[in-house]
């Protein structure tokens, strides 16, 4: 049994995205108004044209009212959803399936998160009342387990491992320095990355994504209607989502060098899109670089590098903006921070720009297929989203 998929049946005909950053003077509502109105304009539509909305946010609001109230949406269905760090992508997946089903003709997927109002470092979540036995480890600590495990398994010495992680952070900030929507728009010297204060394990603060506010939105319709709204739509080839049984945290055979959830969601997405060799066929990808070792492991789980080879491909420049398979051309979570509900749609916004030749200084030559990926949770216990889009 597998997903049947909706390859080439659904198109994105407009997108909007705020700048990501510390928006001290912008509320959640403001960010939503900015992104949604940007998307209306991009698709050349009026609010009345949209039949239904999906809003992804983990903690910046509950219910569809979070969106309908600030935008004064006139008595339409607005679904608010959450699926950890894949929240924004999940809004898009469910919206796409709604138009594919024929229930609606034109829908919008919106993602938002306002993290900077809490005053806390890193991400925080509100768990339901519990028994107090959770491990209490933070996200960087959970993901820091990947680096030594990978190094040990593939015989990479820890100094080289440090260089690999630094290269990932350097690359993503290099890309972000060329993006006026990014939270951080400056290149970061290698020495600064190497010597940043330690947060967890071998991860310094420069191995972590930032904490920011932001919103993004996509206008979605069936493929046959796409050209009504836009001369240059992009088409959804695959949407895959997997929630794992969380066995890595319970079984001794899990070794912290892979995310089985990502492997499975990638396999499913490639089946839907008819991709046989992701390393060759995927032109570019926006992946979930919440921490630098996550990106390293993802390169193998997504099939961009053979097992044990991603560290070499990284150092060889394969994933650089001018490499054979640019990864996180917009700067990634490293440059954008991770306003959770917005990130998945922010990734899609880069695909939108790149596939339409609008990425300016970051433009990749003739991309055909782009991939976006989100991961929510921790190694051993996570959810994973993969999309493939193209022309």
């Amino acid at each position: 049994m597998a997903s049947k998929g909706i390859c080439d049946r659904v198109a994105i005909v407009g997108m909007g995205c705020t700048r990501f950053g510390e928006h001290w003077n912008r509320s959640t509502s403001d960010l939503l108004v900015d992104a949604v109105q940007d998307a209306y304009g991009s698709a050349g539509i009026e609010p009345d044209n949209v039949d239904a909305y999906w809003l992804g946010t983990t903690g910046s609001g509950i219910s569809g009212l979070t969106l309908s109230e600030p935008l004064k949406i006139q008595y339409k269905p607005v679904t608010r959803l959450e699926n950890m760090c894949a929240t924004g992508s999940e809004a898009m997946r469910n919206a796409a399936y709604a138009v594919a089903s024929g229930a609606y003709d034109l829908v919008m997927a919106v993602g938002v998160e306002k993290l900077k109002d809490s005053g806390f470092s890193g991400l925080t979540g509100s768990a339901p009342p519990g028994d107090g036995t959770e491990s209490g480890m933070t996200a960087p600590a959970n993901f820091s387990l990947l680096a030594p495990a990978y190094a040990e398994k593939y015989g990479v010495d820890l100094e080289t491992m440090r260089d690999v992680l630094t290269r990932i952070a350097y690359k993503n900030h290099y890309n972000g320095a060329r993006n006026d929507k990014a939270q951080f728009q400056r290149e970061v010297p290698v020495e600064k990355i190497n010597s940043s204060p330690k947060i967890a394990g071998m991860l310094g603060i420069m191995d972590c994504s930032g904490v920011s506010d932001g919103a993004a939105a996509a206008v979605i319709c069936r493929a046959e209607d796409a050209h009504k709204y836009n001369d240059n739509p992009i088409f959804i080839k695959a949407l895959s989502f997997v929630a794992g049984p969380a066995e890595g945290a319970k079984r001794q055979d899990y070794d912290f060098t892979s995310f089985p959830e990502v492997v499975e969601s990638a396999r499913d997405a490639y089946d839907q899109a008819g991709i046989e060799d992701a390393r060759e066929q995927i032109s570019m990808a926006e992946v979930h670089d919440c921490f630098t070792p996550t990106e390293l492991v993802l390169m193998e789980d997504l099939g961009f590098s053979p097992r044990g080879q991603a560290w070499k491909d990284t150092m060889d420049g394969r994933f650089d903006l001018d490499g054979d398979q640019p990864i996180n051309p917009d700067g990634g979570l490293k440059s954008f921070g991770h306003p959770i509900g917005a990130s998945g749609l922010r990734m899609m916004y880069e695909m939108w720009l790149q596939l339409r030749g609008e990425a300016g200084e970051r433009q990749i030559a003739e991309p055909k297929l782009g991939l976006t990926h989100n991961l929510g949770g921790a190694p051993g216990r996570c959810v994973s989203f993969v999309s493939v889009v193209g022309l």
Partner: protein, 463 residues
């Protein structure tokens, strides 16, 4: 015949030098930031309960302390749950005086003589006002005894008590620290009472002072014992090491702790007297039986004393004891655990049990309704894990997580008998932790939120 069937002790890992407290010799034991008198009592009780004689089933649990974590809410219930004793036990908290530990032991022996089987755990975390003698001279530790019939390793052969309404040590609600009247006054009251009570106890036992191989003298005021030695007829060689230089006086636990230390070195036929002087006097006279070698605990008091980290900084100590306010991390306060989820998860949270799948035989931590390996549903058996040996599969140092002793050491812990969990390491040096290190589980207080103490288990390097 009834008496002491088994005993155990526990001294926490950390020591603070008396020099760091402003002067004096030696060091005192300090409970870690994640320990309190209930968790110390659990550790000592696990020692005492490890290998009970055949047929001994504890039916009564007694917790004695002057620093009980809850003033209302039965602390002995925490002890029952964390030691996996049946819910049919009777449970009592003793307190109010540092004599409560020895009093509880005597009360437990009475219950044992009446046919019950009793776990008595005495435990204290002594926090004195900064700069004072209680801070310097106090210590944190626990001792536990299982009392019952059958073949005891120690018999009570004599006893005497005395109670005196006197203002010696006192702490009323709202006072952050206990106070003590000047010691010269206390000595003038207590020394004659001790002489009298001790004499009556020996008479009750039918032994002479010279028949005692060891004497444990414990009390709120060391000056009391100066005038006691000559009239008692004891010689200094008979006195048990009071652990003043290595542990400090651990309140209600102390008489039991020093008794445990004496029993560690005792042989069949030895007679040991224990006196505790606080708000009066209790004296117990014991005789060690031929069964003593069947009841040796895994850890002696000396082995706990030797297993230590002895450079605890005074500022850290004051933070741990909630004496010194400090800058909180820029992270949310921990959530108060909720009563219904704690109740549902009690066997996991307190008893630290997992489940073993009846279909595939694999283990699940915490207990799972659906097996993580074969997905069989509702077909498993409870599997005890508190004493299971385990090791570090991998680990990380978490400098962002909330802790009174950063960095948090987060470890992926694999059990030798199967099963894995992510948990915190405690009593460990972040610079020395390594993959493969052998660990054991320990019952701790993770944090307190909204006045609720959140107990759960952590792993520690084997002591």
């Amino acid at each position: 015949m009834s008496g002491i069937l088994r005993y155990g002790s526990y001294v926490p890992f950390f020591r603070i030098q008396r020099k760091a407290l402003g002067g004096g010799r030696g060091e005192r034991a300090a409970a870690s930031y994640d320990e309190d008198s209930a968790s110390l009592a659990v550790e000592a009780s696990r020692e005492a309960l490890r290998e009970l004689p055949d047929g001994a089933a504890v039916d009564t649990v007694v917790f004695a302390s002057t620093s009980a974590p809850y003033t209302e809410k039965l602390n002995a219930a925490t002890l029952q749950a964390a030691t996996n004793l049946p819910k049919s036990v009777a449970a009592l908290d003793f307190g109010g005086s540092s004599r409560a530990g020895l009093s509880a032991l005597l009360a437990g022996l009475d219950m044992a003589a009446a046919g019950r089987t009793v776990l008595v755990a005495a435990s204290d975390v002594i926090v004195g006002a900064p700069g004072g003698p209680r801070e310097s001279g106090g210590g944190d530790a626990a001792a536990a005894f299982v009392l019952g019939g059958g073949e005891p390793i120690v018999r009570l052969i004599g006893r005497a008590s005395c109670t005196e309404e006197v203002l010696d040590v006192w702490q009323s609600p709202g006072m952050p620290f206990a106070r003590q009247w000047e010691e010269r006054f206390g000595a003038s009251i207590f020394t004659p009472l001790l002489v009298d009570t001790f004499t009556r106890a020996l008479s009750d036992a039918g032994v002479a002072a010279s028949d005692l191989s060891k004497v444990v003298l414990d009390g709120t005021n060391a000056r009391v014992f100066r005038g006691f030695m000559r009239p008692s007829g004891l010689t200094p060689a008979q006195l048990a090491d009071g652990l003043a230089g290595t542990v400090g006086r651990a309140g209600a636990a102390h008489a039991g702790l020093v008794l445990a230390s004496a029993l560690d070195g005792a042989s069949a036929g030895d007679r040991i007297a224990v006196a505790c002087v606080a708000d009066g006097v209790d004296v117990a006279v014991f005789e060690v039986t031929d069964a003593i070698d069947d009841g040796r605990p895994k850890h002696t008091v000396a082995s706990w004393v030797e297993s230590k980290r002895d450079d605890l900084a005074y500022t850290a100590y004051l933070k741990w004891r909630d004496v010194l306010p400090f800058e909180p991390p820029r992270r949310p306060d921990p959530d108060r655990p909720a009563a219904p989820p704690m109740q549902r998860a009690e066997r996991w949270k307190f008893g630290f049990v997992g489940s073993r799948c009846n279909r595939c035989g694999n283990t699940n931590l915490p207990p799972q309704r659906v097996c993580v390996v074969c997905q069989a549903s509702d077909d498993s058996t409870i599997e005890p894990y508190a004493d299971a040996e385990c090791r570090i599969s991998t680990y990380t140092l978490d400098r962002l997580a909330y802790s009174l002793q950063p960095p948090v050491i987060g470890a992926v812990v694999d059990f030798d008998k199967g099963g894995r969990m992510l948990c915190q390491l405690t009593d460990a040096d972040p610079d020395k932790v390594a993959i493969g290190d052998e660990l054991e589980m320990t019952f701790r207080r993770l944090y307190t939120a909204g006045g609720v103490h959140n107990y759960f288990w952590k792993a520690r390097p084997r002591r």
